[in-house]
């Protein structure tokens, strides 16, 4: 490439301009010139022909503006004509002398004036072509139907197809949640919004168009990596698509002549989208007015529900209006609650903290609690008999335990997000299987340790899959059974003791007692004459290798049964139970500790060593009769515990310690439950119960069998936390 060639290219452009039939640049012509200019600027750059590069580039931008109707065609034509002539003489200069002696600045100034400065950065969004003149308040659906396109069949098509398209969004969001970097998923979510927006603009559905446009813009930013795909963003998109769906649903109601409910207010979602676009941390969905009033004790749940129902009766009113006019709440209460609600939205008094920092903090507080208790138990200090020191120490104790309480709370988050994911899952699953299922959630605000959230997710997913796949009937079967066509799955969470209880209940077919029995007999899990209570029968499905579904679907039948779920739950030191009535439904009840950082332990002593046994695994503490001890030569030692023969595990043997007592009738036995079996653990003494902070043993000691961690006890000594399952395996290996 040399100047001569560059000049030939420019001449070619000039001659094609000369041969233009009409004195105008239409779009295909502009396309040709733009491609030629691109070649010229590329070459000018490699040849360092600065003026040619600048001039040709400027002409390219001029053409772009002409194409976009941002510059008058005639003005553009005149400028382009002069520009090409100038370009030829600049090229001549470079060709003959390797430089251009004149100046292009005058022309460039004129060009810039015509295009509008700045030249490069402008991103023109011409929406001026929009024909509608009247502006509808942003964010609300234009409820009056008169300026809508008369063609009702189009509107009908839009409603059906639009709802279908938005339904696809939910499925793809689930995928995106799993692979936030996958552009295909973002595109698949982007497109429905885009299509809905396009048609809505023709049908003059301004509220829908605006919201779809906002969501589309948001996704565009995510696609261009201007915004990270965070769970908050995903929630926002879901909320947005829900609102969009509600708006289209309302349109359908109107079409079908039903009275419109309340006008859907999109100002909140619009504001959240705006905030998200600016990259601000997404505020949580503000609490509903009713929730605040209930929390404040102004009204109770029942009153709220009734008032909400009455607010829906046309003419629809806001909840606050209903409450005031019916004298249920005073205007003062309502306005105070409204203020509180507004505060939440503007509340920016939160900061994001790396979870690792919180973990460290909570760890250190745990250490502090222990050190504090060591000081308190110090005999030297106690013997001083100084009342001031005693008082100060007890003050220290109360501050430390308060500190521990408030630091544990730091890591607590509401279970809401998990429930939302579950709800989506139910919808997704029921759609695939052709079942109709509603999801009801109760106790979304129940809090749980952030570290537990991920842990409980998989077991919960499995139970949900089970409920939809095995529990729910097909709509026609439900009607036959005299139930509503649409089934309900209820997710409920609440605190009980130090645990969070999560219940997943369905109103499906329930567990079939007879089917389970037959299957269990067939698989040799029970004898054909065993008499079992309903509860015992239900629990059979938690045994390994049990599945009552007639066929394996891609949903639940993945080779794992409820036994795996039970194990996963127990691994988290949780408990699981099933309640079921045939024909009425099934409830899975799971209880998890609120945190994995603290364990409720029983301190036992063997010889001079102390160990901690997790209380959840302990069934009984006994000192047996001599007669209940059996030892057959060559067989394992057993203890008769209320008619059951349980193997005896000697802790001192496993850990090679010299015990005080070797005879079970002189020692203490701890009946422990592991996976599928129970055993008696022989220890010398029970020292007491204590809540201990779990400490990792570090990489090198991680794989020691029978030990799951360590803890510093109240007196400052270290105790090992034992793992029942590991102990059992050790005993079985001997």
């Amino acid at each position: 490439m040399d100047y001569a060639e560059l000049r030939r290219e420019i001449d070619e452009m000039a001659s094609s301009f000369l041969f233009l039939e009409k004195k105008e640049i239409d779009i295909p012509t502009a396309g040709q010139f733009l491609n030629q200019i691109e070649t010229v600027t590329g070459h000018a750059e490699t040849l360092h022909a600065g003026e040619i590069n600048r001039l040709a580039g400027g002409l390219g931008q001029l053409l772009e503006k002409v194409v976009l109707d941002a510059v008058d065609a005639a003005v553009g034509f005149g400028l382009f004509e002069r520009g090409i002539v100038l370009l030829q003489s600049v090229a001549d200069g470079y060709c003959n002398a390797g430089r251009y002696d004149g100046s292009i600045d005058g022309f460039m100034g004129e060009l810039a004036g015509a295009i509008g400065i700045p030249l490069e950065t402008q991103r023109e969004e011409t929406e001026s072509a929009t024909p509608q003149a009247g502006s509808v308040p942003a964010g609300t659906v234009a409820a009056s139907g008169k300026d809508r396109v008369q063609d009702e069949s189009l509107l009908k098509d839009f409603i059906t197809e639009g709802l279908e398209y938005i339904g696809e969004i939910e499925v793809n969001i689930l995928n995106l949640e799993q692979e936030p970097d996958n552009k295909d998923y973002i595109n698949a979510i982007f497109r429905p919004f885009h299509s809905v927006k396009g048609v809505a603009s023709f049908l003059n559905l301004d509220g829908i168009r605006t919201l779809a446009h906002d969501l589309e813009t948001l996704l565009d930013k995510a696609r261009n990596e201007a915004l990270p795909v965070t769970p908050e963003l995903i929630d926002l998109i879901l909320d947005g698509s829900d609102t969009l769906k509600a708006m289209i649903g309302q349109l359908r109601d109107e079409m079908e002549g039903r009275e419109a409910t309340a006008v859907i207010d999109t100002s909140d979602i619009a504001r959240r989208i705006k905030l998200a676009e600016q990259g601000a941390d997404l505020p949580k969905q503000p609490k509903k007015l009713g929730t605040i009033l209930v929390e404040e004790g102004v009204i109770n749940e029942e009153e709220l529900e009734q008032a909400l129902e009455r607010s829906q009766i046309p003419p629809p009113r806001k909840l606050g209006q209903t409450l005031i006019s019916e004298g249920i709440a005073s205007p003062k209460d309502v306005s105070r609650a409204l203020r509180k609600q507004a505060q939440q939205v503007t509340d920016s008094n939160t900061i994001r903290v790396d979870i690792k920092k919180l973990d460290d903090l909570i760890d250190m507080v745990g250490e502090l609690v222990i050190t504090q208790s060591m000081i308190r138990q110090s005999e030297t200090l106690q013997s001083l008999g100084d009342r001031k020191i005693v008082r100060d120490i007890s003050q220290l104790a109360s501050i430390t335990s308060e500190l521990q309480r408030s630091s544990t709370v730091l890591r607590m988050i509401p279970i809401k997000q998990t429930f939302q994911r579950m709800s989506r899952l139910v919808r997704d699953l029921s759609k695939n299987s052709g079942k109709l299922v509603n999801v009801v959630t109760v106790g979304e605000d129940t809090e749980i340790d952030r570290n537990m959230v991920d842990e409980i997710y998989n077991p919960l997913v499995h139970m949900i899959r089970n409920a939809v796949d095995h529990g729910m009937e097909m709509p026609e079967d439900r009607i036959k059974a005299g139930k509503p066509e649409r089934g309900t799955i209820k997710l409920k969470a609440f605190h009980r003791g130090g645990n969070i209880v999560i219940e997943i209940s369905d109103d499906g077919r329930g567990l079939s007692r007879e089917k389970i029995r037959q299957k269990a007999i067939k698989n040799g899990l029970i004898g054909s004459t065993d008499a079992l209570t309903d509860q015992e029968v239900n629990r059979l499905i938690l045994l390994p290798g049990f599945s009552t579904a007639d066929k394996i679907t891609d949903i639940s039948g993945r080779g794992v049964g409820m036994d795996v779920v039970k194990q996963a739950v127990e691994k988290l030191r949780g408990k699981m139970d099933i309640q079921s009535t045939e024909g009425k439904g099934t409830t899975f009840v799971t209880g998890f500790p609120l945190t994995m950082a603290i364990i409720d332990g029983m301190i036992v002593k063997v010889g001079s060593e102390r160990y901690i046994l997790p209380t959840v695994a302990i069934r009984q503490l006994i000192r047996p009769d001599r007669a209940s001890y059996n030892c057959i030569v060559g067989e394992a030692e057993t203890i008769n515990v209320m008619g059951r023969l349980l193997p005896l595990v000697r802790l001192h043997k496993l850990f090679d310690i010299e015990p005080v007592n070797r005879n079970p009738w002189e020692a203490t036995l701890v009946v422990m439950e592991g996976e599928k079996r129970s055993k008696c653990l022989l220890v010398d003494e029970i020292l007491g119960k204590e809540e201990v902070v779990i400490k990792n043993l570090g990489e090198s000691l991680k794989r020691i069998k029978g030990v799951s961690g360590g803890a510093i006890l109240g007196d400052g000594n270290v105790g090992l936390i034992l793992d029942p399952e590991g102990l059992f395996e050790m005993a079985e290996a001997n």
Binding site: E38, V67, E125, S195, G198, F202
Partner: protein, 130 residues
């Protein structure tokens, strides 16, 4: 000279309602000889199976976008001269310029009226006839 209203027009859009909207607008302008395709891939199939005089295509579609369809049409010896009107949601500079460089005949921004659509078609057809 007025444009031949019997022109066979191919509408390409993944959203069926949108195709219907365009079909209705075309009808108001007197164009009733219309075929439809739901994306670029389907459009190419139609183009290969029957003679078409004019393409109106959406920009954003799954499988094969409007721009990809345009490029495929322009690089096909039999189809390359076909008038191609691109429908876009906004006149985003990058999109429009990309389409113009790829040889689009004209573009139209949603939402548009039957008159504007008519004008665009006439302009394209007339410039070809000239």
């Amino acid at each position: 000279m007025s444009v031949n209203k019997n022109l066979k027009i191919l509408i390409v859009d993944d959203f069926a309602t949108m195709r219907k909207v365009i079909r209705n607008l075309l009808k108001q302008g007197g164009f009733e000889n219309v075929v439809e395709a739901e994306d670029g891939v389907a459009a190419l199939k139609v183009l290969k199976s029957q003679p078409v005089d004019f393409i109106i295509s959406d920009w954003n579609m799954p499988n094969m976008s409007g721009l990809e369809l345009l490029k495929a049409v322009r690089s096909d010896d039999e189809l390359k001269a076909l008038p191609f009107l691109m429908v876009t949601a906004e006149a985003l500079k990058d999109n429009v310029v990309a389409a113009v460089k790829a040889g689009v005949s004209n573009y139209i921004v949603k939402p548009f009226t039957a008159e504007v659509l008519n004008e665009k078609i006439e302009k394209i057809v007339k410039s070809l006839a000239a």
